[in-house]
Subunit: 396 residues, 2 copies
C-alpha cells in the first residue's frame, strides 16, 4: 500500500519540523524563545472572549457556505475603512487564510498548471500547491536589496503556456518587504497582457511601519484579474480561530470559491461569531496600539541583528518578520544546533525558522533565517542576545 505521488510531494513544514528538538531542549530545563513561528504574544481582543461566553444559540449549527452575512458585511465595512471597495457578495469567508489559498490555487489552476511566485515565500504555499497538484514556479529575490520583487523581464521569462497566475504577498511573509504601488501596477500589467490572475496575499495589511500599504484590489482596470486572500489571524492575534476570506470582483471567481465552500459546508461558526465582534472594533481600540508595539519590536530586532558580526538584513517596512543572512554555513544545521547543543549561561536559547524551506529552488537560502518578532521587548532582547552568543560560539 502506498500513498499517492501527490501526497509524497507535500513537504513537512520547515517551520514546525524543528519542534521536537525544541521540546527536548525544554525537557532539559532550557528556556526556548520562539522566533520561529508567527504566533504573537499579544492577547486577542477581550471582546472576542465576551462573544464566546455569549454564544447566541443552543445548537452549534451549520452556517452559510459563503460565511454568515453579518460577518461578510463586517468584512466589507472593514475593507471600506482601509480604502478597499468590496461588497459582501464579493467575499467568501474561509477557514483561515489557509483555505483561501487552497481555494485560490484550485480555482485558477488545474493539476499540472503553474503559478509564479517570488522566493523566498510563505512556506505553506508549497504544501497547498502539492496538495492541489499544481507547480509553483519561483523567481528569486535577494536579501541584499531587501528582497524587492523581480524585474518585469524576469517575470515575463518565467511565463509558459501553463502559467495561470502570479502570487504576491505584501507586506511579505517571510521578508517583511512591502510592494510599492508601482511594483503592483507593473505586475498587474504583465497579468493583463498574459491573461493571468494576480493572487494577492494581504494578511499583514496593517503591519506597516513606513508609508502605507497598497492593495491589489485598488489597481485600476484589474477587476477580473485580482483575487484577494486575507486572514484575521495576525490582525487580531487569533490564529487559532481559523477565519479568513477570499474576495474578488470577478463573479466567476466568487461563485467558484462558493461551490468549493459548499462542499465543505461552512467555515467554523464560533470563530465567525467572535470575529464579528473583533471587526467591529475601532482601529484605536486594538490595531493601532498593537502596530505601535510591533514597530518597536521591529526596530529592536533589526538593531540587535545588525549588531551581530556578519548578519545582514535591510530594515523591512512591514509584517512582523525579518529575513536575514547569518554568518553560518547551513542555517538549518545552525537552528538545530541552537536547540540541541547550545544555551546561554542563563540556560536560554532561541528558535528560528531556516529560510531554505521558504524557497522552492534547492540550495537557496541556506545561510538565511526568518525571525518572527512576536515576543515582548524583554523576551526579544534575551532571544537576540542568545542568537548573538550562539553565532559567536557556532562560528568558533
Amino acid at each position: 500500500m502506498s500513498i499517492s505521488k501527490r501526497a509524497r510531494n507535500v513537504p513537512a513544514s520547515p517551520i514546525r519540523k524543528l519542534v521536537p528538538l525544541a521540546e527536548m531542549a525544554k525537557e532539559r530545563g532550557i528556556k526556548v524563545y520562539h522566533l520561529n513561528i508567527g504566533q504573537p504574544d499579544i492577547p486577542s481582543p477581550p471582546q472576542m472572549f465576551s462573544a464566546l461566553a455569549d454564544y447566541p444559540s443552543k445548537i452549534i449549527a451549520y452556517g452559510h457556505s459563503q460565511g454568515e452575512k453579518p460577518l461578510r458585511q463586517a468584512f466589507a465595512d472593514y475593507y471600506k475603512r482601509v480604502g478597499i471597495d468590496l461588497g459582501e457578495e464579493q467575499i467568501v469567508v474561509t477557514t483561515g487564510g489557509s483555505e483561501a489559498l487552497l481555494f485560490a490555487f484550485s480555482l485558477v489552476a488545474s493539476p499540472g498548471e503553474e503559478i509564479i511566485v517570488f522566493e523566498p515565500f510563505y512556506t505553506n504555499y508549497n504544501g497547498f500547491a502539492a496538495q492541489a497538484g499544481i507547480k509553483l514556479v519561483p523567481i528569486a529575490t535577494d536579501v541584499d536589496d531587501g528582497y524587492r520583487p523581480p524585474q518585469p523581464r524576469l517575470i515575463k521569462r518565467a511565463i509558459t503556456e501553463k502559467t495561470r497566475a502570479i502570487l504576491v504577498c505584501s507586506p511579505n511573509n517571510p521578508t517583511g518587504t512591502v510592494l510599492t504601488e508601482e511594483e503592483f501596477k507593473g505586475i498587474a500589467e504583465i497579468c493583463r497582457h498574459h491573461h493571468l490572475f494576480l493572487l494577492s496575499d494581504e494578511v499583514y495589511r496593517e503591519f506597516i511601519y513606513e508609508g502605507s500599504a497598497y492593495s491589489a484590489m485598488n489597481i485600476p482596470d484589474f477587476k477580473d484579474n485580482a483575487i484577494l486572500l486575507d486572514s484575521i489571524s495576525k490582525r487580531f492575534s487569533s490564529c487559532g480561530a481559523r477565519i479568513g476570506c477570499i474576495a474578488s470582483r470577478n463573479e466567476e471567481v466568487v461563485s467558484s470559491a462558493l461551490r468549493m465552500g459548499q462542499a465543505r459546508l461552512c467555515p467554523p461558526v464560533i470563530g465567525q461569531h467572535i470575529t464579528l465582534s473583533a471587526l467591529e472594533l475601532k482601529p484605536e481600540e486594538y490595531i493601532t496600539p498593537s502596530i505601535s508595539e510591533y514597530k518597536k519590536r521591529r526596530d529592536i530586532t533589526h538593531e540587535l541583528l545588525m549588531d551581530i558580526g556578519g548578519a545582514f538584513a535591510l530594515k523591512p517596512a512591514g509584517s512582523f518578520y525579518i529575513s536575514a543572512r547569518l554568518p553560518v554555513d547551513d542555517a538549518e544545521r545552525f537552528c538545530a544546533w541552537l536547540l540541541n547543543d547550545f544555551a546561554t549561561a542563563d540556560k536560554e536559547t532561541v528558535m528560528l525558522a531556516p529560510l531554505a524551506g521558504f524557497y522552492a529552488t534547492p540550495q537557496m537560502g541556506r545561510d538565511e533565517v526568518r525571525i518572527a518578532y512576536v515576543l515582548c521587548e524583554e523576551d526579544l532582547r534575551k532571544a537576540m542576545k542568545a542568537l548573538k552568543e550562539g553565532i559567536e560560539k557556532y562560528s568558533m
Copy 2:
C-alpha cells in the same frame, strides 16, 4: 480571464441550491420544514457552552497541526469505548469530516486517478473529488433492495489501473443503509487483492436502530488499507464546530495527513476545546437519549412515507436519512414546486433534497429524494403531511 477546468467541475451543492426558493417562500409567509439538510434540531451538549465561556487562554493561538494531544487522547478513549483500538498518534484532527475527506482523497489518489464509490453517495464527495482532480467511479445501488452494496463481481469490474481506493459510508448518508460485517469483509478482500485503500466514512456510527455498527477498523489483517473518516458534527449536534478526524494504523497515511495538516497550520482551536468536553460525556448523558429520539423519528417518517401512494423505501437501519422513490416525474422539479407553487391550508411546505445530485451517473435518482428526519415529532408529522398533500396535488 477564466477559472480552471478543475474549478468548473466543482458542482454546486444540490442540497443547498434550492435555498433561494426556500427563502422566497418564507418571504411569502410560508413555513418551510427543512428535511433537506442534516442539521439536527437537538441542542448541543450544554457542557460545550460552559467550555466556551471558560476558554483557558487570553490568546486564541495556533494549536498543533495534528490536533491538541488531550483531544486526540479523548478521541482514542472514545474509540476504545465503541470497540475500535486506535492510539492518539494514529489520529489527525481535521476541520470537520469535510477536511478528513479532502485529505483522504488527495492522500490516496493523484490527479487523474480513481476512487470507487457506491451511488447514491454523500453529494459533497463530488465537490472534493473535483477539487482534488480525481475521478469518482460510481457503482449503482437500488432503492428496491434498500441500497445494499453492489455484488463483488460488479466492484471488481469497476477496477482499472487507475483505481486507488474504495470509499464506503456506513451508516449511510443518504440512504440509511448499514453495511454488515460480511459486506465489509467482502469489500476488504477486494481491496487487499488489488492493493486498494478502503476509505470508511463512519460519521453516523452511533445512529443505529437495528443491530450494531461494524467498523472498517475492525477488519482483521487490514491495518495498511483502512482509513477512517469521522466527524463529531452529528454525534454532538455541533455541525458548526467543524471538528472531525482521519485515522489509520498505516503510519505513512498518518504522516502524510499530518503534512497536509501542517500546511493549514491547525484545526479550529475553539472547536477542539469544546469537543474535548463533549467527548468526555458518558453515552447515557447525551448520545443514548439522542439516538432514542432519532429512532422514534425514523419510525414515524417511514410510516408516514409508506402512507403516501406510490412512495417507496425499505426501513433503513441507521443514520438519520431515508432515501425514497416518489411518484413524480422529476424530483428536482417537484422539490422546487413544493417551495414555489405549493402550501397547505396552514401555509406550510417541506423542503427535501432531490437525490439526482447524490449520483455521479447522469439521469439516475430522478424520482428519488433524501429525507433528513432531523426535526421533532410534531414538526416531522406536519412536514410529512405537507409532503403527502404536495404529492397528491402535483400528481393531479
